[in-house]
């Protein structure tokens, strides 16, 4: 779906106005969370909380620096399940308490992330926008993740398959 959109606008972005359009290098996510805005802000902005949910499944995090002011540094290390450490460095660009967080991911890939939170009574809507430097970089990163994801699913499928096989063998 996204690609169809990209294709539709290729001419515009590539031939007419290279810089004006961002649709082919961005990702938008949103989620209504069942918690008040204060709590969402807290779990996003306090190192002891964000370390508990950031990063891919199975990873743990060490937050070294999280200076939430414009120009402030955010340095965290994600520890993969296999023991590999992934260094992550970002710089905060804009902070509006209980409303908005903008940071620029300084390690590869370069991403400008804008997180907006909106109060909806006891619920909170979170809008997450990620803008890549270029369409090329976006596709490259998407491809890498897609491949890893595919690989992971294959391994999971294989594990399930082998388990069945083992059970059958036992029964036989």
């Amino acid at each position: 779906m996204l690609w169809k959109l990209m294709l539709k606008n290729l001419k515009k972005s590539d031939m007419e106005n290279k810089k004006s359009s961002t649709h082919d290098r961005e990702l938008r996510l949103s989620r209504m969370l069942n918690a008040p805005v204060e709590l969402i802000w807290e779990v996003w902005t306090k190192p002891e909380h964000i370390a508990n949910w950031w990063g891919p499944n199975g990873f743990t995090n060490t937050i070294h620096t999280m200076d939430m002011v414009p120009g402030g540094e955010w340095h965290l290390v994600m520890h993969g399940p296999d023991g590999t450490d992934y260094d992550n460095r970002s710089v905060f660009k804009e902070i509006i308490p209980f409303k908005k967080i903008v940071y620029e991911h300084a390690s590869y890939p370069k991403i400008l992330a804008t997180i907006e939170i909106e109060e909806h009574g006891e619920q909170t809507l979170i809008n997450w926008h990620m803008l890549f430097d270029s369409a090329e970089e976006f596709i490259a990163v998407a491809k890498k993740h897609g491949a890893e994801e595919g690989q992971k699913q294959n391994v999971e499928k294989l594990a399930v398959y082998l388990k069945q096989f083992a059970n059958k063998t036992k029964l036989g």
Binding site: L2, W3, D14, L29, L39, N57, V141
Partner: protein
């Protein structure tokens, strides 16, 4: 059919994306494509060849002319990657949601 080049390589270049865009609507004469770009005919031919190699376009001979036709089914591969990458981020939101629920239980006992 196994393609010799991957689709990513094909669409990584702005000229090739522009060529895909041109032929996506209707087949174009190879010469007509070359005229649209501010580069040598040889350079455009190379781009067309890369697109042909990875199966995104096919060349059909019509009389004395050669026409480029789009063959875009392969591009679904790209949207699959993007979808999977999006899922990776959706899981981050899942983790946030789970953590918030846990925190709520700890603090308010509900």
């Amino acid at each position: 059919m196994k393609t010799r080049r991957d689709v990513y390589q094909a669409i990584a270049d702005p000229t090739r994306r522009a060529i895909i865009n041109m032929v996506a609507g209707q087949p174009h004469n190879v010469n007509a494509i070359a005229e649209k770009f501010d580069m040598t005919r040889q350079a455009v031919s190379l781009h067309v060849k890369i697109l042909t190699d990875c199966g995104l376009i096919i060349i059909k001979q019509r009389g004395r002319d050669r026409f480029c036709e789009a063959h875009l089914q392969q591009l679904s591969e790209v949207s699959t990657w993007v979808e999977q990458y999006k899922k990776h981020w959706e899981r981050k939101l899942d983790a946030l949601e789970t953590y918030v629920e846990k925190l709520k239980k700890e603090r308010y006992g509900k």
